[in-house]
Every structure is written in C-alpha cells, then in structure tokens.
Amino acid sequence: MGPTTVPGNASTTPRAPGRTGVTLGRVVAAEWTKLAGLRSTWWVVVGTVGTTAALAWVLGLFARSGDGRTAASLVVAGHLLAQLGPLTLGALVGAGEHSAGTATTTYTAVPRRLPVLVAQGVVTTVVTLAAAVAAVAASALVTAGTRATAGTALDLADGETVRVLAGFVLDLTGVALLGLGLGALLRRPAAALVSATLLLVVVDHLLATNPGQAADTARALLPGAGTRLLLDDAGLAALDAASLGPHLGAWGGGLVLGAWVAGVLAVAAYRLRRGDVT
C-alpha cells in the first residue's frame, strides 16, 4: 500500500510528494484509451469506409463519359448515408458516459468536467478525420476502373477536386462533432441520433420537396448546408439556380455547419458545467 504516515488530527490528510494532477493532455490520452477500447468505434470506422466505397462503386457502374459530372463528386457520392457513421461515433462519445454509468468515475477523476468534453472533441475529430480520409481513399480505389472507362480523371492538382474531397472530410468531421454535442446535451445516444438525423436529412428533404423562399432559406440555415462543401462547382451552380434562399457557396455552407457545431457544443458545455451528473 501507499506511504506510511503518522496518524493524527491534522485537518488535511497527508499526501505523498511528486503526485501528478489532471492536465488536458492527460484527459485527451484517457479519452483516447476509452474510445479505442470500444468495439463500436471500429465498427463505425469500418462502416463509414465501407458505405462510402460501396455506394461510389455501385453508382460508378452507371457512370459514362460526357454525363457532366466530375470524378471527385462520384468518389463522395455515398456521403449522405456515410455520414451516419461519424454521427453515430459522435453521439456515442458524447452520450456514452451518461448512458453507460461511467460518468460517475469520469467526472470524479476530472471534476472540472469541461476538459472531458474538450478531449472528447479532440478524439472524435481525430478518428473521424482518419475514417473520412480512408473512406475517400477506398472510394477512389474502387472507382478507378470506372474512371478509366468514363475517361474522367481524379486530378489532385485541380482546385475543385481537392475542395470536394477535403469538403467531404470536413463535412463528416462537422457531422461527428454535431453528434458529439447533441449526445453530450441529450445524454442518450438514441435521442442524439434521431434528432441529428432529423436535422441533417429528413427535415432537409422535406423542405426540398416543398420549395419556396421560406423553405429554401431554412434549408440553407440547417446543418445539412455543410454538404455544399462537397458539391462540385456545377452542383453548387445548379443548387443556387434552383434556390430562392441565400446563396452560401461551398465555404458559407461549411460555416453554417460550424455555427451549429459551436452552438450545440456551447449549450452542452453549459449543461455539463452547471448541471448535475447523475
């Protein structure tokens, strides 16, 4: 057992020298250990990569030359479904502590609490970035044959191509952080998943099928606006031409998603900081 000290009536309990305290770096290391120790994490990564590549491959079977679409947009064509992976990851990380009952141990170890949320943001970002990059690579690989047949090249020196591929990675990361924020706020993975799916996909689709100025404006302000990051120039132009709402451009869409992420995380941080951990 620990060092032997003299029992007495001192008002503080004796403590050995040289003990180390909580630092943000250590909290990040701890969150990484926890995340890497869960099978669900690796299922999510595999699912994201697999979905992206599989959808791109299937759609690639139908792609032919002269259909007006870029190779990059084919690579990221599975995005809408693939984003469920990062979303699940974020929701699990954000809500997992509370739903699995580990919150008690975690927040007694880090009573300031906020470093845990920051660290969860860091590890979620890292895993999602890695998964998204792997997904792009896998998708590019399985569509290589199609691209050769269709005569469209994936040119990494081309600004638009790089923007679309990087946009895919960025949007997936933003979606993961939105999931994290909703998970930390709602404290139940299922509630976070359902509300995020509504925000990102279902409401967006509902508005898209009932176009109008109000609907188009609302669509542009939903987190789904982040998908503009991975639309190619022709796609953006088509979207803007059909929309009566604000024309955000690719990066503007990214900013809308970023604002949602920041807002939801801020509310989650407030609840974590001021509320009870139960």
Binding site: L59, V194, V201, V202, T209, A234
Partner: protein, 274 residues
C-alpha cells in the same frame, strides 16, 4: 395457479409501455407533426389554381413516420438496454410470449397514434379547404383507402422498428439500422442518382437504367413500400419501378416486419440472455 398466459403477458407489456414517458411523448409529437405539416403544406398550395386539399393529405407522412419507428425501437430494445429483461424472462421463461406481447402492445399503441395522426392531418386540411370554399370529400375517389393506408403505413413502420430493436437488442445499432434503411437510404439513393446522371444532360441508356434501378430499390425499402399503401388506386407506381399497388406495397412492408421479427424470435428462443 396463475401461469404467465399470453393475455397476462400482453397486459404486463402494456403496463410497462404505459409506465414510460418516452413513448407517450413520441405519440404526442407524431400527432402534432402530422397535423401541423399537413396544415402548412395545404396552406402553401391553397393559392394554386387547381388546388385540391386532398393532394396535401400525405404531406406530413415523411416526418410523422419517424415517431412510430422510434416507438418500435424503444419497445424492442428497452428490456435489454435497461437490464429489465432479467426480471421479465425469469417471470416468463418461455420467452416468446414476451415478444408476442410487445408486438401486440406496439401495434395497439401505434394504431392509436396513427389514427390520431391521420385525424390531425385531415383537420390540418380544413382551414385551407374552407378558405377556397372546397368541401372535403373523404368518402370518394379512393380517399378512404388512402386514409386506411396511412394508418397501416405508420403501424407497419412501428412494427419494423420493434422487430429490428428486438433482433439487435442494443439501442444504438438498432436506431442506426432503422434510420439508415427507412429514412436515409431512400433519400441518399435519390440524390445520388442526380449526381451520377448529371443535372443537365440525360442521355438515353445508362442513366435511365440507373434511375429505374434506384426507383425499384427505393420502392422495395420499408418507407417506399409503405408509401404505396397511401397512394390512391390507379395512381401508378414510381417511374421505372414495378407497380406493386397498395396491396403489393403492404406485402413488402409486411416482409420487412416479419423477417427480422422471426430472426428476433429465433435469437430469443435459442440463445442465452445476457
């Protein structure tokens, strides 16, 4: 002797379901969403020259379907996510009556919710219809069948959620599976068709083949098949997809319920409960 008979298990499941706040909130939200969305859609199109209020009847379904799905998954996974299953299955060691009871209870709760939601949708049409002086004819032109189909669609989705939840047992995978198959995949496929086919050009050949393949696939997914239930007779199917009609759509949706439910029953019967 008071053995756990099926009616008792059903009663027990009902007690458990009614004791939770979640399902009740989901039901209320479903009814509200259905009414409000239909109202908004009818109002928005009431200025059109050829306005028929009944065209907006199913406008709220795409969002209202989320409620029954969630309800089903909550019932299907609830025992396992909370640890209650130990108590439940020591009380009913034959196990399968519990699944049957959950199915009955979910169908009943979804039916009540769906009837109210469809009622709310009809009520949502009234202001727009009255503003144009158009009477609502609910008994002609296949409208009764559409109303019944909407109810069946919502109940079917709840049972689909229950079946997947009971099969996978853990809420997160169950929700991901259900959301992906019923909500996201159809939209993803339709949008991806746009991407692959291009916005401007639609040459003959492959893009049309793609369109028809995607439409067929979407029709065979639970929400696509269920939507056929709520289509007026003779309206024809989606372009390029086989026209299954309301009954065919209902059968496809039933298969989406029965296959995972049978698998869940096999798992429940044959495997350890941990």
């Amino acid at each position: 002797m008071t053995a756990p008979t099926l009616p008792r298990v059903v009663a027990a499941e009902w007690t458990k379901l009614a004791g939770l706040r979640g399902p009740a909130l989901v039901a209320v939200a479903t009814v509200l969403v259905s009414g409000l969305l239909t109202f908004a859609a009818a109002n928005a199109s009431s200025v059109d020259p050829g306005f028929d209020p009944l065209d907006s009847l199913t406008a709220g379904l795409s969002l209202a379907q989320v409620g029954p799905l969630v309800l089903g998954v909550l019932v299907g996974t609830g025992e396992f996510s909370s640890g209650t299953f130990r108590a439940t299955f020591t009380a009913v060691p034959r196990r399968l009556p519990v699944l049957a009871g959950q199915t009955v209870v979910t169908a009943a709760a979804a039916l009540a919710t769906a009837v109210l939601a469809v009622g709310a949708a009809v009520a949502g049409l009234l202001p727009a219809a009255r503003s144009r002086g158009i009477p609502l004819e609910l008994t002609t032109h296949g409208t009764p069948q559409v109303l019944a189909g909407m109810v069946a669609f919502l109940v079917g989705l709840a049972l689909f959620g229950l079946a997947v939840g009971a099969l996978l047992r853990r809420p997160t995978p169950a929700f991901v599976a259900v959301l992906a198959v019923a909500l996201v995949l159809p939209i993803a496929l339709m949008l991806a068709t746009d991407v692959a086919a291009g916005p401007t050009t639609a040459p003959a050949g492959d893009p049309a083949a793609l369109q028809s393949a995607v439409n067929t696939l979407v029709t065979l997914l639970p929400s696509g098949a269920g939507a056929l239930l709520a289509t007026p007779p003779g309206a024809g199917g989606v372009e390029g997809a086989p026209d299954l009609g309301p009954w065919g759509g209902g059968l496809v949706l039933a298969a989406w319920v029965l296959v995972p439910l049978a698998a869940a029953a096999a798992r429940l019967r044959g495997r350890d409960l941990t």
